[in-house]
Amino acid sequence: MAQRDPAPSTPPAAGAPEVSLTIPVAPEMEIVATAQADALGEYIDMPRDKIDEVKLALVEACINAFEHAQTQDNQVHITFRVGGRIGAGEWLEIEVLDRGRGFDTAGVESPSPQKTFEERRRRGWGLHIIKSLMDEVEIASGERGTRILMRKYK
């Protein structure tokens, strides 16, 4: 991988089956990407509702890259990994990487229903939703792009 800046602190799960997907920055491509989360969720027999949560988190990560990243390559790079011991702690991990302009992760204001309804600031929920729906989330962003690493246990 060309980009080294936003390195997650957890080491990649060695030997875990890995599927990588590159989608263009284009409307509804985030939904095309969710097909892969679906297939890999089914592959590890993850319950349907959890697969739906993973799919929404993936959608949010993709549309962030589409909306905010201003990538040069016009692509979003997604890596899916499944791992854990069968029957004990199996998980699906998704890494969403864009080679865009990055952002200051510490500077993002937390959303709240109050801000949303009373101050009519209705956007700003994407990252919060990702963190709420996935079991582990790591966000690394810098001038070479943004990487979101998120994992959900079965």
Partner: protein
Amino acid sequence: MSETCRVSVERRGDVAVFWTDGYINNQGGEEIAREAYSELDRGARALVMNLAKTRIVNSIGISILIEVLEKVMERKAVLAFCGLTPTIDKTFRIMGLAQYAAIYPTEEEALRAVGAAAPTARPQVTGPQ
């Protein structure tokens, strides 16, 4: 594109019932908003949205639904949702939509709660999920 949300609406007296089919993103949300505003303009006092055929609503879609909800409240009308998947239900709660709009498991319960006339046959929603 197949995933684009289809919206169909039926009036039952002063209650408008919406059925969505497919992914609700900015486009789908705007389509719902358009229909909702037109129903409010035509005097609807309650909107019931059945999302049973929608599996994903993204945060932009929800932000538009919140806009609709605000308009509904301004008009002193009510908005009720039903047929939500657990994930959509969870997201609506996270974002606070559930604090201002009612959520019911089934369309029947939602209609009963808003005091709608008995449901008639449901119109055909065309297009894939």
